[in-house]
Amino acid sequence: MPDSTSNLRRRKFNFFDAIEKPTEWLIRLCGWSSIIGLAAIFLFIFKEAAPMVPRLNWVEFFTSPRWIPNPAPGNEPSFGALALLVGTFTTTFIGLMIAVPVGLGAAVYISEFAKGRVKETLKVVIELLAAIPSIVWGFIGLMVLGPIVKWVFTAEPGSAWSVVMVTLHLATADSGASQGTNLLTGGIILALMSVPLIVSLSEDALRAVPDTFREAALALGANPWDTVRRVLFPAARNGLLAACMLGMGRAIGETMAVLLATGHNNRIPLALTDPVRTMTATIAAEMGETVHGDAHYRVLFILGIVLFVITCGINVASDLIIKGVRNSNKGPK
């Protein structure tokens, strides 16, 4: 009897049996696709940049702000990317200086204090903020925020505000900011773009802290501020850190918004309202018109590699920090 049924089964075509294997492979492929994609991207970028790697003057690349990729006939091009590196780091730094406190504050408010309809509305609005395309942010920077920043950071030379601005390095010139599109404007725009990410991830992290922690804190007589600072923040540390790191990743890789909002000016900023230029904006502005395969084209890919290495570095560092935090949490116990 068992024999005859197995024969029968073998003869009968079963659809689900037939697609069992391919499905398994398909799912496996999905799992691996991100790794394959990453490897392919890295290979592509590296392949395009490779011929220039031995020829590039690396000392000049990292130490000189002289970026002249299209020299006049008879002149040598010069690929000094120092100002671009500084531009990327400073705009990201300013962005995070604003986004991290605002983002964490908003997350604490939404997860711990806001109730009912307020809470739901805030969550929806913040998620909407994340849906605004980056070019629109750039436009807001150029047309709305830029003029406001220019207006705030303008003063009669010699007036009190002018002296304050120059002493605190808020502006280089005693008349204030030279133009509305600058480091500060770019930073604020980046902050606005990364706040939604930081808020929603931090809020998740805070919500994941068990309510027993809050109850215990209350039972010990802690006020809400102490509860947040001494109990919730340490408990949600990993998630909060990951949120900030992802916000930083978002800021450092942003292109279109900073292209419009920073002034696209190849210089090392000496004050908060100096215009700057980032690596991403340089790639976007110049890639379209380079001759495929020439030095300029390849150096733009090298900029891409540098960005890639920086973001990988950030991710690895945040992983290590998070692990470190986890271990030290275990330690004292």
Binding site: G146, D174, Q179, N265, P275, G288, E289
Partner: protein, 294 residues
Amino acid sequence: MYMKSPGKFSRSLLLGAITLMAAREVSTAFGAVIRVKGSDTMVQLASGWAEAYHKVKPGVQVDANGGGTGTGFAALQNNTCDICDASREIKKEEVEKVKQVTGKDVKEFVVAYDALAVYTNPANPITTISVEELTEIWAEGGKITSWDQVMPGMKGKIVLFGRQNNSGTYDYFREHVAGKTPDKKQREFRGGISEMNGSAEVVENVAKTPLGMGYSGMGYKIDKVHWLKISPKKGEPGVEPAADVARNGKYPISRKLYLYTAGEPTGEVKAYIDWILAADGQKVVEQEGFVPLK
């Protein structure tokens, strides 16, 4: 069946022959497309021509795009455009490259003149500047960085707005204003110039910046900015940008605008270029703020 087919066969042969031998002419009859690409300086002009020409010959569609003169020449090589707008003369390497890829010599047409104006903010009382001073302001290692060095009584650092380094306007201004180094090499621009992606953007930024100075085509003048009279040397009388002085070369920063084609233009492309060079096309040149040939 077989007996009837020779008639059908010969008819389709005839049709095929027409299509093959006169593909260009046939396609014209059903709405030819002329692809134009190149200089950003000329993009307003090019679309002005395209619109006006559409009224004359509705069957011909002209696609006018910018992207920069260099992009236009690259497109000419790759045969992704029929006409390249250029705000500078074609370089020797570019001629050779087109010849190499397409097997044709480029053909050059001068279609208009353009004067690059130096724009300042109306808050700035300055009216005249010399090319010498412009050199010191814009070139690498130049000595002039603040307004009181050129305009007594005007305080503050000069804020410079230029074009991105692959635009024809950038090349042209560098060539004519940045000057030469002692060993006869072209001087580059100084660092710290905001590089804008479009000519209108330069003017717009100067309008918003009291201490600003920027360069752009004459056609981009708006009410919110001033342009400067330019003299070749300090102390000489300045020349205001205008049509006649741009054509006869008295205005120091004027240039020709070109169209280039790969090989002698034929068919619709030729008709279009002829129209541009004639009175109607030249009227558009004037309307767009450039200087017509006559």
